[in-house]
Amino acid sequence: MSRLFDFAGGVGMGYSQPDTLMPKESVSLPASLIRKELPRWPRLSEPEMVRHYTWLSRRNFGIDTGFYPLGSCTMKHNPRVNEVIAQIPGIAQIHPHQPEHHLQGLLSIFHEMQHMLEICSGMDQVTLQPVAGAQGEFTAVRCVQEYFRKRGEDQRTKVIVPDSAHGTNPASAAMAGFEIVEIPSLEDGRIDIDALRAVVDDTVALMMVTNPNTLGLFENDISQASEIIHSVGGQMYYDGANFNAILGRTSPGLMGFDAVHFNLHKTFSQPHGGGGPGSGPIGVKSHLAEFLPGPIVKKRPIASGHENFAVDDMWYGWYQPANSIGKVQQWHGNSGAVIRCWAYYRRYGYGLKDMSEHAVLNANYLRHALHREAQKAGVTDMFVDGATTKVAKHEFTLSLLPAKEKYGISAMDVAKGLLDKGYMAPTVYFPLVVPECMMFEPTETESRDTLDKFAKEFIEVLQQDAEILHEAPITTPVRRVDEVYAARNLCLRHPFDE
């Protein structure tokens, strides 16, 4: 073990700094404000610090270390040139309060990204401000809320969410003050149109839908759902976490949505190690555009005298929507993430369609390969598809219920068994509609060889004795971690010598 708070070290600091501009003695603070004891931080020299974090990193699994089929998370390869680009001083050392003529390059990239997302989603206006998918949801919900307020439709207090929705959907709507109406999904996670019809009336502000849904199936009744909601004057919200499945094949606009968020960090590959950072732009139809948080980038002719600052034949300027909800982050969103995602987009251009096609190809192929290997090994009694369908989209689910019932092997056991094989486990126990659910999303950046090998080893895991599998993992840095112990014996910081 390497533990940060074990480094007591020598004197001084781990990286040397220049001197102060005036003698330290010249500083006088009001007595009440002088810090009496410095934080009990450790003292590491650079060699120790490098070794500590190298050691930690080697106890962590990433896409770079192995296949990461975590469903709903789109764990695709993060191209390295994007990291190089994000270090360019023209983004890394930019202050959001600099004047427009200092930032034409940044603003033109913002404009290009807004435009690209508008095209891909069929929306009229995009803002890049929200810094994660959930914040995008909240932002869009707020816009819809102000839209109805402006129209005087204050009775619209409800947001409809299928029970298969991601937790952020209801959480975001609730944060904005809406009442959540959860409707049950069909067995395959698809919207139950009848159930929907049963709850709609003029108190509905919004329905939030993920398409393909969290089981990886395309909602083929989506136009009908849009119609139903619109018929009572409600709005349709598209949770774009699964955008990787449909780029260039369909769009939220075509399906009748009014607002959408993008998880740029997933679809466009901003690295989000350990849980973030993300970027969650939203796009809306024109009737909602005036409510978007500002600023947004618009282009206009170049004013004379400004030619020298321009990066092309237009001027890129900040623009404040007329009835803006205000801000959801203090600055301009996660600009550094937007830049990386721009670099990612440029690599594909109109080929974003190919990207989605390969994501869907890989998901279907993996599903096929898992069944094929099960057949070969004669373990067809261990799992069934999470939903019956000819094709899935970018992800799919299996139910391990048969294994559980016949052999006492749970989805969690299998997940842990996969860790021993050197894989990240698929998402487990979500969505809840599938019992003993495992949700696989291979993404387009995995090779056929990897998918075939994974399928084989998945079946090998299933063939292990239940007792052995209960013990898994055994080859990992630690063995099964006691989460109950953690919750019962809260230890949320180093105790020092308390």
């Binding site: 700094q17 009440s32 600099q98 937790g167 550094g336």
Partner: protein, 456 residues
């Protein structure tokens, strides 16, 4: 090109194995009516070399603060991130992981999170820290809603929080967006003309759910009156203090003078400004707030063999479990950037932090001294203690002055009338550890020249 698509060229083989004959077969579940039939009207794919060339051209057209003399701060600060931090954060194991749902193979990240929590907890003087919120503004906003969740039942002023009137409007806007859904009213606390908090105004906040003030405040002042605040507002009202983390190398930790929640913009510790994101929000609190606080927390536990092990804990507060009753909707957060913060803190050590704070305050003092020598301008809060920024009152508008300086290649500061519209002539001048004495001389000389010009 294979590039990022390893199966390019293998499509047909793969399809045929599945009994399909074209990619279209994979999409025939999309109803005809919603199909996109034309190619995306976007430009062709680019090679890595072309992308990087375009990026260099476009981003090179931006004026980076590292390439000019800059006194712009106002919430985000020029800093130095040690080279080893970048080198380590880009290790694939950190960079390309995600939420540590499988703790057995995520011990590195989980331990680093837990260590971050400890570092922040020590920094601000409170026992609990999460990991992490989006930025300083959302951290402040979440602190307000958290305070209401905790105190509303017993509060005399229900659904009400008080915020320092100096708080930048963009931050207030975020707070309003976050608070409105819960029906929370935001009221304001006044400040005296010397910039210090008006303690009698603060008195009115007693019995509300929470009070939000910043230390240093948005005018750059360290307020010696804050230590009395907790007593004034009382136990049932959360004292929320927004901090600039570097200042805590010198200035008392708010947890030590009664703060219940400490929030702040983590950026100066470990993250470049990056046009305002990704950066990370600090959120720490006392035990009272633990179960109703937002965000991720890592806990120390054991594995089945009884070995030390780490995992996420208290997830029942979070949206993926509690759904619409969650304490926050946050899911993807700013862990990787917070980890840069942890690395930077590890390298600094206590003395390094102290030195860094001293570099800021001495540079600030030098700038105050130089600018106070100019007759044509004034420093309205000259007697106050500033950490790394202060207001200069100009003989004409700050906007004009900034334009003038911009022409010379100096970013002269922040036009404070963007926050306080009536203060047209207020310039907020920021110096940090990155500011040199020569740059201060330069600013003083050019402000003097300009102000003589407009005064004449």
């Amino acid at each position: 090109m294979v590039d990022q698509l390893p199966n390019r060229g293998l499509e047909l083989e793969m399809l045929q194995e599945m009994g399909m004959s074209s990619i279209d077969d994979l999409f025939d579940d999309i109803p005809v009516g919603v199909r996109m039939n034309e190619p995306l009207p976007l430009p062709p794919p680019q090679s890595e070399e072309e992308i990087i060339a375009d990026a260099r051209r476009l981003l090179g057209a931006n004026l980076a603060m590292s390439e000019v003399v800059s006194f712009l701060g106002a919430g985000l600060y020029r800093n130095y991130v040690p080279a080893s931090v970048f080198q380590l954060i880009t290790r694939g194991e950190f960079l390309t992981s995600y939420t540590p749902y499988q703790p057995e193979v995520s011990q590195g990240m989980l331990q680093a999170m837990w260590e971050f929590q400890t570092l922040i907890s020590e920094l601000v003087g409170l026992p609990i820290s999460n990991l992490s919120l989006y930025d300083g503004s959302t951290a402040a906003a979440e602190a307000l809603t958290c305070a209401v969740r905790v105190h509303n039942r017993k509060a005399e002023q229900k659904d009400t929080v008080y915020v320092s009137e100096l708080t930048p409007p963009d931050k207030i806007s975020v707070m309003k967006n976050y608070c409105q859904g819960a029906g929370i009213t935001i009221k304001f606390i006044k400040h005296n003309s010397d910039g210090s908090i008006d303690l009698s105004s603060a008195q009115q906040a007693a019995g509300s759910c929470g009070v939000y003030v910043e230390q240093p405040n948005p005018l750059g002042l360290l307020d010696g009156g804050y230590p009395q605040l907790k007593e004034i507002i009382g136990d049932k009202t959360a004292l929320i203090v927004g901090i600039q983390p570097i200042s805590l190398g010198l200035v008392e930790a708010p947890g030590h003078y009664g703060a219940d929640i400490v929030v702040g913009e983590g950026q100066p510790l470990g993250s470049p400004i990056t046009a305002g994101g990704p950066i990370y929000g600090i959120f720490a609190c006392s035990k009272t707030y633990l179960r109703l606080m937002p965000g991720r927390i890592a806990g120390k536990s054991i594995d089945v063999d009884g070995q030390e092990a780490y995992c996420l804990t208290l997830s029942t507060r979070e949206q993926h479990i509690r759904r619409h009753r969650a304490t926050s909707n946050i899911c993807t957060n700013e862990t990787l950037i917070a980890l840069m913060g942890a690395m930077h803190m590890s390298l600094l050590g206590p003395e390094g932090l102290n030195h860094l704070a001293l570099r800021n305050i001495t540079a600030c003092n030098l700038a105050k001294q130089k600018l106070s020598e100019i007759n044509t301008i004034a420093l309205p809060h000259l007697q106050g203690t500033h950490f790394n920024e202060f207001i200069v009152e100009l003989p004409s508008s700050a906007a004009d002055c900034l334009d003038y300086l911009d022409g010379i290649g100096i970013i002269g500061g922040f036009d404070a009338s963007r926050w306080y519209p009536e203060r047209k002539n207020w310039l907020l001048v920021t110096v940090t550890d990155q500011t040199s004495a020569k740059e201060i001389e330069l600013l003083a000389a050019h402000i003097a020249a300009w102000s003589v010009g407009v005064s004449a």
